[in-house]
Subunit: 267 residues, 2 copies
């Protein structure tokens, strides 16, 4: 039966679909089950305690769907609850912060790395710790950018958009101009604002998106345990905790394709 | 014992503190109990079904605190759940939409009224219905402004702020210039952005804030039932469903004074 097992992915809402997209591209044969906790979104402004309670509910729901691994496709939830999930959940759990931090530690030349994320992620200092573990001499500048999530969900993301540029400049201007050479997009919503962020930061700063790094980490985990599926076409199933319509509508921008057949569940 | 009863007030988070403030000013002798459902905030992007479930939890919590009336100090929750609460809760329930709509119907001369609010409030069409009930010939233009809530919580609210002005212009420019003569601020966060909204709308448009109208409605309800307290200094107690620190910090901007001694509860 092992060969039929799926990969479970959860997030507070639509943002984790950028991780889902990376998993689809890297592991096209795997069956993926996505849970977006849209009734409780966002996690970014909530306490670690509350976010951990919700993460456990999400992971236990995915366990009922025959999963061989769980991906926390949300920076805030990874920061708050990875250790608890690792101890409570009987399958391997992968968060987005470790892989993202490792990719940034490899990318930086100057050792000066910026991290942007939600208030919850930045306050947790999870990236700061993971970066220092990966490279002890690293110098980290961290900053919360609370308006980036609603901007991405509103769809005001074009690099030429007056609002997104003004917001990006407000948050980031003092990090450009040689202060850092690498910036971690520490929230799964932020890749949608990549163009505006890159415009403020300039061409000398490398932007690191955790989604690809996380998909790579999932691949090597499954490969190491002999759980990987090499052939066939994987299935993709979506669950949400609030009405599916808006999830499907906004989610398509994050997934880069239609979100098919999302089902509502009550956790 | 009746004389010792309190007024219960709930909201998804800090926004309802603008209503709390209006109640404190109009009814200084009343004991007020405020519940901010900060673990589940925001309600504005969630479905009516989910918001109603949370509203019932909130109202039942307040009932345990010896309340003689409950104020839904949240437009989204009023729009989604007032009828259900009126039938399920054994004390009078007052929402913010009826009083706000009535104030706007009285204020308009041209009969052309604008309403701005969260996606949930606008989609519900509750203001549109309440305005037409108050004045059948009214012409309503309604618009969701999702970025206004995070802007108010971020504190970027000054009339001269480049970001808030760009966002206000994007949402409202086509409503100015004679299209309407009255605009309802149909979300308890919006009074904080009053200056920027007024700048876009121009001096010929009256801005209606539901908080004062709601406090007036509560006063006349209590007076009508002989439940009003005329003398003494009322007490104010705050409960939240997530950590109290950020609530107190952001809430002070909404209440116009310090938020004293907020306690965390689990609903």
């Amino acid at each position: 039966m092992q060969a039929s097992q799926k990969i479970g992915v959860f997030d507070s809402g639509v943002g984790g679909l950028t991780v889902m997209k990376a998993l689809m591209q890297r592991l096209p044969a795997e069956d993926l089950v996505y849970l977006g906790d849209t009734a409780r979104v966002p996690y970014g402004t909530k306490s670690a305690e509350v976010v951990t309670r919700y993460s456990l509910l999400n992971a236990r729901f995915l366990l009922k769907h025959d999963v061989k691994a769980i991906v926390i496709a949300c920076n805030t939830a990874s920061a708050a609850s990875l250790p608890v999930l690792e101890s409570e959940i009987p399958v391997p759990v992968v968060g987005v912060i470790g892989p993202g931090a490792l990719a940034a530690a490899r990318a930086t030349k100057s050792g000066r790395v910026g991290v942007i994320g939600t208030q919850g992620t930045i306050r947790s200092e999870a990236y700061q710790r993971a970066l220092r573990e990966a490279r002890p001499d690293v110098n980290v500048v961290a900053r919360a950018c609370p308006l980036f999530v609603p901007l991405a969900e509103e769809g005001w993301t074009e690099g030429g958009d007056e609002v997104v540029n003004a917001v990006a400049k407000r948050y980031l201007a003092d990090l450009s101009g040689g202060e850092i050479d690498t910036l971690v997009l520490g929230c799964t919503h932020y890749p949608l604002l990549r163009e505006a962020i890159a415009r403020v930061m300039g061409s000398t700063v490398t932007l690191v998106d955790s989604a690809d790094a996380t998909a790579e980490a999932v691949e090597s985990l499954l490969r190491g345990r002999g759980l990987i599926r090499a052939s066939g076409q994987g299935s993709h199933r979506y669950f949400v905790t609030d009405l599916p319509e808006r999830f499907a509508e906004v989610g398509a921008r994050f997934l880069g394709r239609k979100v098919e057949g999302a089902e509502q569940v009550d956790l």
